[in-house]
């Protein structure tokens, strides 16, 4: 065999073992989720068999059980909070990030440092004062408390993220816009925002995920009226024991919206940021 052929075979063997490894790792990671999906279509009896059963007659009874346990109000709370928080964060973060990246002034780096510092305090340390403040403002068990908290929690992150996307906008492209006669709003809406659109999608996705899955504030500051989906899920841990199948169904319902949003955002994320603008 020639050396070229040997080298080529070696390279192929390498490629195959690498993709095998990738598959193994991927399946390891996805397996609990697949198991959750499978379990959610089982009856409680099927879910408890040992050894676990791979083949069973699927049923939707767990899903209707979840809805019967009052899932929908929690879903509505989560949706309301997540959508509103994401919108508010984007509306505030985009202009802030623009100013902090493309129109810097003397105090810009201080401002950025300040935003970041607000993330340095562990939430556990802040929960008692937050509880007291919420109580005084009559915002306990109120979705608006979550809206305010999640917005302030996500805003620094969103500003930093959006800023890094703005920094990647080619300066010459902005200058070309100015020479072409664009005013600042035109420049922003017609040229800069379309170019950073993938960045906006990424930031929105992060914001949705964090708001949707946030548990600590929600469990401490809300109860039956303003509870979100993660709080609902905890309700399955009861003294009578776990209802695996129903918990799986609830968990599946809880994660579906994020998966859908992620899938939509992904289509925007893959587009190159400023592909074709320069060079």
């Amino acid at each position: 065999m020639t050396t070229v052929a040997i080298r080529r075979r070696r390279r192929r063997v390498g490629a195959i073992s690498l993709s095998t490894l990738t598959w193994v790792i991927a399946i390891l990671f996805v397996f609990p989720i697949i198991w959750m999906v499978l379990t959610s279509f089982k009856t409680e009896a099927d879910a408890y068999t040992d050894p676990p059963r791979l083949f069973f007659s699927p049923t939707l009874e767990q899903f209707s059980g979840v809805v019967d346990r009052g899932f929908l109000p929690y879903l509505a709370n989560s949706t309301f909070v997540t959508v509103l928080v994401t919108l508010v964060v984007l509306v505030l973060a985009i202009p802030a990030a623009y100013a902090l990246s493309l129109a810097p002034v003397k105090g810009t780096s201080n401002a950025l440092g300040f935003f970041l510092s607000t993330k340095m305090l562990p939430v556990v340390a802040a929960i008692i004062p937050l509880y007291v403040i919420s109580q005084n403002l009559k915002l306990l068990d109120n979705v608006w408390a979550l809206v305010i908290l999640y917005t302030s929690m996500n805003l620094p992150l969103a500003i930093w993220m959006m800023r890094s996307f703005f920094l990647e906008v080619p300066t010459e492209m902005i200058e070309a816009g100015r020479v072409d006669g664009a005013s600042l709003p035109t420049l922003l809406y017609k040229i800069i925002l379309p170019v950073v659109a993938p960045g906006i999608a990424a930031t929105a996705l992060i914001c949705v995920i964090f708001s949707w899955t946030e548990f600590f504030y929600a469990v401490n500051l809300t109860a039956a009226r303003a509870g979100t989906v993660p709080v609902f899920l905890v309700g399955f841990i009861t003294s009578e024991g776990l209802y695996w199948a129903q918990l799986s169904a609830a968990a599946l319902l809880a994660s579906l919206p994020v998966m859908i949003v992620g899938w939509i955002a992904q289509n925007h994320l893959v587009r190159g940021l400023s592909m074709g603008a320069v060079k």
């Binding site: 070309a176 072409d180 017609k190 379309p194 074709g276 603008a277």
Partner: protein, 357 residues
């Protein structure tokens, strides 16, 4: 259309050192001229162009386009169009939209926009690509879109900032000719920045040479080549670069090795900087006046060969351009003479200014 005037225009960057990126630039560009700003990096040529575009402040002096003073106007009110080094196309817009953008902002009617874009596309052979996004174009096509974006606006002045430096060598030569032709056809005043002196020489009606923010000379390419105003221009314009060396001045002139070069300059100088272009030197036979050069390196370019060597006495390096068919060999000693006694340049040894006319 209009001419451009820089009147003692300066750009001073704030900070501890007050860097004068462009220092009291005085330059008048008549209507329709193709002016090339050339210089090494950091010479202020791009800054000068950006001052005209309104992308850089004018800290002192003034800039006029036509009769209008534009010193403090924003870019959009200056009636200019600019082609950037990176092209700076709008990646989310099609070729047609890229070209139409400025016209739409100015409220030109839909039919007119479409007609103008089509016309420019035809001129630049972009008609087939009007519906494509920039990322689906080659480098040369993107460059043409950038040109098209400038052309459709029919501005008073075209500004071009090294528009060819991202193209490969072959395309660059081709596009160079196309831009020069296009400018002649449109007759629009054009300011073109480059660090490539071949571009400067071949494209410009006149060439302005800058160094450290100061204008060195502004003249037609031929004039620049034949009568460089100072040592810097002499060394910068022409490829390969002029041989420059400072030598003692005797009564009968200076000596280049054994070769006497008669010069006549004001007598109070004891030294003079002598400049001889590599193409002004030639290999000569025995008996002709010459100096001896020990060959250290031969660069063969096909048509020509560049012979690098040192005067046999040691010291100054000299380059000679010879016929590519019969280059001397390495280590050989060759006799080199002047092609024409008039083809020498003399500069002041201290301030570098030209002494002969």
């Amino acid at each position: 259309m209009a001419g451009v005037v820089y009147a003692e225009a300066s750009r001073v960057y704030p900070g501890a050192h007050h860097v004068r990126a462009v220092d009291k630039l005085d330059l008048a560009v008549p209507d329709g001229e193709f002016l090339v700003l050339v210089g090494p990096s950091g010479s202020g040529k791009s800054t000068a162009l950006r001052m005209l575009a309104g992308l850089e402040d004018v800290d002192e002096g003034a800039i006029r386009i036509g009769e209008r003073e534009v010193t403090d106007l924003p870019p959009k009110d200056r009636d200019i169009a600019m082609v950037f080094q990176s092209y700076a196309l709008y990646p989310h817009m099609t070729v047609a939209d890229n070209m139409a953008f400025a016209l739409r902002l100015r409220g030109v009617s839909k039919e007119d926009v479409s007609a103008k874009v089509k016309e420019a596309a035809k001129l630049l052979e972009l008609t087939k690509y009007l519906d494509r996004k920039p990322k689906a174009l080659s480098g040369g096509q993107r460059q043409r879109v950038a040109m098209g974006r400038a052309i459709v606006r029919e501005p008073s002045v075209f500004l071009m900032d090294e528009p060819l430096s991202n193209l490969d060598a072959k395309l660059r030569v081709e596009t160079r000719a196309n831009i020069a032709q296009l400018q002649q056809r449109l007759g629009t005043t054009t300011i073109y920045v480059t660090h490539d002196q071949v571009e400067a020489m071949t494209m410009g009606d006149r060439v302005a040479v800058l160094r450290d923010g100061v204008l060195q000379q502004c003249a037609a390419p031929r004039e620049l080549y034949d009568r460089p105003a100072n040592v810097f221009v002499a060394g910068f314009i022409g490829s390969p670069a002029m041989n420059l060396s400072t030598r003692p001045l005797a009564e009968d002139g200076v000596r280049l090795g054994d070769l006497p070069v008669p010069v006549s300059v004001a007598a109070e100088l004891r030294e003079v900087t002598l400049g001889v272009r590599p193409e002004s030197l030639r290999l000569v036979g025995e008996g002709e006046p010459a100096f001896v050069l020990k060959v250290e390196l031969v660069e063969e370019l096909g048509a020509d060969a560049y012979v690098h060597g040192r005067l046999a006495e040691g010291g100054d390096r000299i380059m000679v351009r010879v016929d590519g068919r019969t280059p001397p060999r390495l280590g050989e000693s060759v006799r080199v003479g002047l092609r024409d006694a008039g083809e020498i340049h003399l500069f002041h040894p201290e301030n570098g200014l030209r002494l002969t006319d």
